[in-house]
C-alpha cells in the first residue's frame, strides 16, 4: 500500500516534468506574439509590456485568407473522402471484401511518402492548368485522406451489431437503404471523429501545398513557412500566426482523442 503511494507520487512528478516540456513551447510562442521587437533580445524577460501590434498585423495580412483556403481544402477533401470511403469501409467490415490483404493495402497506401506522388501530381496539375489553385491541393490531399478515412471507419462498422441490418431487411429495406438509413446514423461519433481527424491532417500539410499553390491559393502552413526565410524574419507575426494555426486543432483534438484509437487501429486494437 505504501509502495503504491510512492509510485503514485513518482508518476505524478515525472508526468509533471513532461507536461512542462510539452506546454513550454506553446507558452513561449504565445508570449513571443505579445513582445515588441526590442524585447526579443531578452529571452528571459517575462515582465514586459505586452503589445497587440503583431496580432493586428497578422489579421490584416494574407493569413486570414490563407486560413479560409485551408478550411475550404479541408472540408472539400473530407467530404469527398467520406463519400467514397464510408461505403467501402462498410463493405470491408461486413463482407471482408478483398480479404485482409486489401485492408493492409489501404493502410499502406496512406503511408506512401508525398515525395513519391508529388512529381506526377505536379505535372498532371500543370497540364490541367490547375496549378496554383486549391483544387490541386485537394487532389493531392485525397491521396492520403481517402485511405485514412476508410481505414478509420472500418473499426466503427465492426462495432455495429449485425442484427440491426437483419431487422431492417425484415422491415423491407434494401441492403443499400439499411446501410444508409440504419447503420450509418449509428456510427455518427465515428464519422465525426474521422472527419475531424481527416480535416486536421489536411490543415497541417505543408509538402503538397508548398509545391502546388502560390499567390492567392496559398494555405495556412505555406503562409506560416514564409515568416522565417533567408529573405527575412518576422518573429512576432510568425508567433501569432502559429498560435492561430494550432489553437483550433488542439481544441478539436480533445473531442476526438477518445475515438482515435478505435479508428487508427482499424479494427485491430479495441479502444
Amino acid at each position: 500500500m505504501r509502495k503504491r503511494i510512492y509510485i503514485d507520487i513518482y508518476s505524478f512528478f515525472a508526468l509533471l516534468i513532461f507536461l512542462i516540456i510539452i506546454i513550454f513551447p506553446y507558452f513561449w510562442t504565445l508570449i513571443s506574439s505579445l513582445k515588441t521587437a526590442a524585447d526579443f533580445l531578452h529571452p528571459l524577460k517575462f515582465n514586459f509590456t505586452p503589445t497587440l501590434s503583431h496580432w493586428a498585423n497578422v489579421i490584416n495580412s494574407q493569413i486570414p485568407h490563407q486560413g479560409i483556403n485551408s478550411i475550404l481544402v479541408g472540408i472539400i477533401t473530407v467530404v469527398i473522402a467520406l463519400t467514397v470511403g464510408a461505403p467501402a469501409a462498410y463493405s470491408f467490415s461486413r463482407f471482408n471484401t478483398g480479404g485482409e490483404k486489401t485492408r493492409f493495402l489501404i493502410l499502406l497506401s496512406q503511408m506512401l511518402p508525398p515525395a513519391v506522388l508529388i512529381v506526377p501530381i505536379f505535372l498532371l496539375m500543370y497540364s490541367l492548368k490547375l496549378l496554383d489553385t486549391i483544387w490541386a491541393v485537394i487532389f493531392a490531399h485525397l491521396t492520403f485522406i481517402t485511405p485514412l478515412v476508410t481505414w478509420f471507419l472500418i473499426g466503427f462498422f465492426d462495432d455495429v451489431p449485425r442484427e440491426l441490418e437483419e431487422a431492417a431487411k425484415v422491415d423491407g429495406c434494401t441492403p443499400w437503404q439499411a446501410f444508409l438509413w440504419i447503420v450509418l446514423p449509428t456510427i455518427r461519433p465515428g464519422l465525426a471523429a474521422a472527419s475531424l481527424f481527416g480535416f486536421i491532417l489536411s490543415w497541417n500539410d505543408l509538402y503538397y501545398a508548398l509545391l502546388l499553390t502560390g499567390g492567392k491559393s496559398k494555405t495556412l502552413p505555406v503562409g506560416i513557412a514564409g515568416y522565417w526565410t533567408f529573405r527575412g524574419v518576422e518573429m512576432g507575426q510568425m508567433s501569432s500566426a502559429i498560435i492561430l494555426a494550432i489553437i483550433p486543432v488542439i481544441i478539436a483534438s480533445f473531442f476526438i482523442q477518445k475515438y482515435l484509437v478505435r479508428g487508427l487501429g482499424g479494427g485491430a486494437i479495441k479502444g
Binding site: 510539452i22 511518402p113 505536379f122
Partner: protein, 288 residues
C-alpha cells in the same frame, strides 16, 4: 440485387478515386523516371531507360540523404518508444493523480502542423534569441543546436517532442485492452515491478508494439517540415533527408526524371527495411 453484387458496388467509388489520384500518378511517375524529364524543357524529353536510376545509385548525395534519414528514423522511433512506453505505464495506473488531464495535454503535439513545430523550436533553440541556449548559457553549458554535429540530432529531438504522443496513444490503448488474468496469476507467484513488465506486459503487448513501431517508422521517413523550417539540409549535407532531397532535385534543380527515379528507389528502401524489421521482431517474439 444479391449480396455479392452489393459488396462490390460499395467499393467501386473508392477504387475509381484511388485509380485516379494514386495508381495513375504512380504509373505516370514510372514513365517520367525513364525519361530525361526536366521542368525547364517539358515536351522535349527522351526515353533513356534506367540511366536515371544508375546515376542516382552512383550519387553520393543520394546515399547521404538515405543514411541521414535512416539514422533519423531509428534514433527518433527508438526514443519515442522508450519515452512513450514509460509514460503509458504511468498513465495506465488508475491511481495516478490527474491522469486524464495529463493524457489530454501530453497527446496534443501530434495534432499540430509540423511546420509550426519546426519554427517554434528554431526560435526556442536560437543561440541569441532562444530561451533554451540562454538558460543553458547561464548554467555554463554551451551547445550550438544547429551545428554540423548536432543538427540532425536536434531534429530527432524535435520529432520526439511531436510524435512520442502517437506512440503513447497506441501503447496506452494496448495496455488498456490487455486481460488482467495473467497479471493476477503472476502476482500470486510473487512477480512484481520490473519483472512483471519484462515477462508479462512486454510479451502480451508485442503485437501493439510491433504495429506502433512500424507505423511510426514509415511516418518518420517522411520527415521534411523540420528540415524546411530550420536547416534546409545544412550545415553541408548534415540534415539532408530523402524527402527533402527529392524536393530539392525535382523542384529546385528541375530534374523531375531523377526525382521520380529517386522516389521509386525510396519505396524499395522502405519496403526492404519494413520486411527486415518485421522478421527481426517476429523472431524476437518466437524466442520469448
Amino acid at each position: 440485387m444479391d449480396e455479392r453484387d452489393f459488396k462490390y458496388r460499395l467499393i467501386i467509388p473508392l477504387a475509381l478515386l484511388l485509380i485516379i489520384v494514386m495508381i495513375y500518378p504512380l504509373g505516370y511517375s514510372l514513365w517520367v523516371s525513364l525519361h530525361d524529364f526536366k521542368l525547364t524543357s517539358i515536351g522535349q524529353e527522351h526515353f533513356i531507360g534506367f540511366s536515371n536510376y544508375w546515376n542516382i545509385l552512383k550519387d553520393h548525395s543520394f546515399w547521404r540523404a538515405i543514411s541521414n534519414t535512416i539514422i533519423f528514423v531509428v534514433l527518433a522511433v527508438f526514443l519515442e518508444f522508450l519515452i512513450g512506453f514509460t509514460l503509458a505505464l504511468m498513465l495506465h495506473r488508475e491511481t495516478t493523480p490527474f491522469r486524464n488531464i495529463f493524457r489530454a495535454i501530453l497527446l496534443s503535439p501530434m495534432f499540430i502542423t509540423p511546420i509550426a513545430v519546426g519554427l517554434m523550436f528554431r526560435f526556442l533553440l536560437n543561440s541569441q534569441l532562444g530561451f533554451v541556449p540562454v538558460i543553458l548559457n547561464k548554467l555554463g553549458i554551451n551547445i550550438d543546436w544547429f551545428s554540423y554535429k548536432m543538427a540532425l540530432f536536434t531534429l530527432v529531438l524535435i520529432d520526439v517532442w511531436q510524435w512520442t504522443p502517437f506512440m503513447l496513444l497506441l501503447l496506452l490503448a494496448g495496455l488498456e485492452s490487455l486481460s488482467q488474468d495473467p497479471f493476477e496469476a503472476a502476482k500470486v507467484d510473487g512477480a512484481e515491478g520490473w519483472n512483471l513488465i519484462r515477462y508479462i506486459t512486454l510479451p502480451l503487448l508485442k503485437p501493439v508494439i510491433l504495429a506502433a513501431i512500424i507505423i511510426r517508422m514509415l511516418d518518420a521517413f517522411k520527415v521534411y517540415e523540420y528540415v524546411y523550417a530550420i536547416t534546409r539540409g545544412g550545415p553541408g549535407e548534415a540534415t539532408e533527408t530523402i524527402q527533402y532531397h527529392i524536393y530539392r532535385v525535382g523542384f529546385l534543380y528541375f530534374r523531375l526524371g531523377e526525382a521520380s527515379a529517386m522516389a521509386y528507389l525510396l519505396i524499395i528502401v522502405i519496403l526492404v527495411l519494413v520486411l527486415i524489421l518485421y522478421h527481426v521482431l517476429q523472431r524476437e517474439h518466437a524466442n520469448l
